[in-house]
């Protein structure tokens, strides 16, 4: 999601006459696209803005903050950044910057007008602290033509916000309610990417598979959206893979899986976050499904799409997690044979329901559980990768490895592949690779 936000921010800023620099020291405009999923990320924003504000004594500098921000953080950041706005108001950024003057930022200019503007913004924000407008301009945001950072991989936002209220997460408070992007816009963007020969297209949203539910029948649902994209793929005759992230297990219907099975361009890789393998932990997390419910989803995927890879997200050390509950999570790692799991040690996110509970699993225990589960994943993943040996897979070459002697790519199932070659011309192409080495989290092979 952050990548997609970034791809839409860049053209808006460039249209104002700014050019990009990799050297932070020479920038006149510095911004942060924040992520509130973890407190650490927000702590980094505080650290960074203090550093930038020190530079204002010796340099013209304008700072802005956008992205995923809690209302309480937003009020604090308004005092530190020159401009703070929800991502949905991105289209208004030029207007906001014009209030400061593009050439002479407010920190040095300090005209009464600018001081008044900033004070008014702060006052207004404080007054509206109980009613921050999170999604008012999300449709404008979706109209921004993105500047893709890759010529073969793209992210397409289809939905914003979340109505699920998992107790460990603050997204419903930072991104607001679920809002679906009109399907015509999504299909137009996907068609344009197909026309430009993109190879990997990822549909993005906090709950992609509840797409359309907020429109009460006035919009198609997620399976229908996937089906239309599948048909675009069939019509094009081109080879490309369409992914989506993140779905919620509660909305993962058989229909979604059936459509993926049916259309070749819908990638046979499903990322479905289980978060825990214990019913009581799932209750505490307010996930609204049981391990049995999740088991049924995996069974359906395995039956309808036997070649599919399955990725997941898991939190260890969530409030109240006992040894027994953690062991249940270890069991599902083996039972469901995930190809990959993004494992996180629980950390308190202010604004989430769980932030009001004691974070009662010691850090040491969290680390131990993290390492144990990672070891389990390593074994499971390695076994899965071994099954690839001797077989040939279509692989999207994404770039060179650091040592320049290998190309790095991904299978349709998003398994990392290393290929001994230095041929730059293959980057962005899908090639056949015969797998001859399988390690824990990747495979290697020769182009055939």
């Amino acid at each position: 999601m952050n990548m997609s936000d970034s791809e839409r921010t860049r053209p808006v800023i460039e249209r104002m006459g700014y050019s990009w620099t990799d050297n932070e020291e020479e920038a006149d405009l510095l911004g942060v696209l924040a992520c509130s999923v973890r407190q650490k990320a927000i702590d980094k924003v505080y650290s960074r803005i203090h550093k930038w504000n020190k530079r204002k004594d010796r340099q013209n500098l304008l700072t802005f903050l956008t992205g995923c921000i809690l209302p309480a953080d937003k009020v604090k950041f308004m005092k530190l950044f020159d401009i703070v706005f929800p991502m949905s108001e991105l289209q208004q950024l030029p207007e906001m910057i014009s209030q400061y003057g593009i050439v002479t930022p407010v920190s040095l200019q300090q005209s009464q007008e600018n001081i008044d503007y900033r004070n008014d913004r702060l006052k207004d924000l404080k007054q509206k602290a109980g009613s921050l407008k999170l999604n008012e301009h999300i449709f404008d945001f979706w109209h921004v033509d993105p500047e893709y950072t890759s010529h073969f991989e793209a992210f397409v936002p289809i939905q914003n916000g979340c109505d699920k209220f998992c107790t460990f997460c603050a997204v419903p408070y930072t991104r607001g309610r679920e809002v679906s992007r009109p399907s015509k816009e999504i299909l137009d963007e996907v068609q344009s990417l197909i026309d430009r020969d993109f190879k990997s297209i990822t549909l993005l949203g906090q709950n992609v598979n509840s797409y359309g539910l907020d429109k009460n029948g006035d919009e198609i649902g997620f399976p229908e959206l996937l089906e239309k994209i599948g048909k675009l793929g069939n019509k094009s005759g081109k080879e490309f893979w369409v992914y989506f992230t993140s779905p919620h297990p509660r909305d993962m219907t058989d229909e979604v899986i059936e459509v993926i099975a049916q259309y070749p361009n819908l990638a046979k890789q499903i990322h479905i976050p289980v978060q825990a393998g214990d019913d009581k932990m799932l209750i505490r997390m307010n996930r609204k499904y049981s391990v049995d419910d999740f088991r049924k989803i995996i069974k359906t995927i395995r039956e309808l799409i036997p070649e599919a890879t399955i990725f997941t997200d898991i939190i260890v050390g969530f409030t109240g997690e006992t040894d027994e509950q953690f062991e249940n999570t270890r069991k599902i790692m083996h039972e469901f044979e995930f190809n990959m799991a993004y494992i996180a040690q629980y950390s308190v996110r202010p604004g989430a329901v769980s932030s009001r509970w004691e974070d009662d699993v010691p850090v040491k225990t969290k680390k131990q559980r993290f390492h144990k589960l990672t070891e389990d994943l390593t074994r499971v993943s390695h076994e899965q990768n071994k099954k690839m040996l001797g077989k040939t897979y279509r692989v999207l070459i994404r770039g060179k490895e650091r040592n320049q002697k290998y190309l790095a790519g991904l299978t349709e199932g998003k398994i990392n592949v290393r290929v001994p070659s230095a041929d730059d011309s293959l980057i962005g192409k899908i090639v056949d690779v015969k797998i001859n080495i399988a390690t824990e989290f990747s495979v290697a092979g020769e182009i055939v």
């Binding site: 209302p71 109980g130 009613s131 209220f165 408070y173 607001g176 019913d279 209750i283 049995d292 329901v353």
Partner: protein, 219 residues
């Protein structure tokens, strides 16, 4: 935490049920909801908001929430001081602790509540009086049998722990052990997490599949 989705609703009444529990009634403003859902609400302009199950039935012209005052809480104490005409900020409805019309027709239900966790069951029972249900309510004292007269005869069973004034003396978990439900019963649990965990274990030991168990935890 508040968002632009919070709408203003005017308070109609605050009714005390016990020294620590009360009902806030406020304007419905046309909100459509399904019994069992919850709202996120708080004082106007206050960033602190909390989730409360809707207590009133779907057909009423107002909305009600049942609130247990938490002595260390940031929101429940403020809400108790509300007066008629004051403004609340309300977002919702949310949640999936609901029962479809088809399920209501063909299934038998056991509602298991502790304390103010009875709120969604009050809404369900009054919204769908034809439903085949039994409600067991774990409370410390009989005065916490909030508005028990609202339930049809024999439908409500209080499990009182402090004395023998209830329909059953002991915890809801003790009641469940002595009165196991039929294995095809759909069990809905709402209240504090410890009660839910214990009841969950008992019901599973009694042979109910986890697909028959639904929980809404109050935090």
């Amino acid at each position: 935490m508040a968002t632009d989705y919070h709408k203003t609703h005017r308070v109609e009444e605050v009714k005390d049920l016990t020294p620590s529990a009360y009902i806030v009634r406020f304007q419905k403003n046309g909100m459509q909801f399904q019994a069992g859902q919850n709202l996120n609400l708080g004082l106007k302009g206050d960033t602190e908001k909390r989730d409360y199950s809707i207590y009133s039935p779907e057909q009423n012209e107002f909305l009600e929430v049942l609130i247990k005052e938490i002595t260390t809480g940031l929101v429940s104490k403020k809400l108790r001081r509300l007066q008629e005409g004051d403004e609340l900020e309300v977002d919702g409805p949310f949640g999936f602790f609901t029962i479809s019309g088809e399920s209501r027709k063909k299934n038998k239900f056991l509602f298991i509540a502790s304390g103010s966790g009875i709120a969604p069951f009050h809404s369900l029972a009054l919204s769908y009086p034809e439903m085949d249900y039994q409600l067991i309510h774990g409370i410390r004292n009989s005065d916490e049998a909030y508005e028990r007269k609202h339930y049809a005869n024999g439908k409500y069973i209080s499990c009182v722990t402090a004395d023998k004034s209830g329909d059953f003396h002991g915890r809801v978990t003790d009641y469940l052990k002595q009165n196991p439900p039929d294995k095809d019963t759909l069990c809905y649990l709402c209240g504090n997490v410890n009660m839910i965990y214990d009841a969950f274990d008992i019901l599973k030991e009694q042979g109910l599949p986890s697909s028959n168990l639904f929980a809404e935890v109050y935090f």
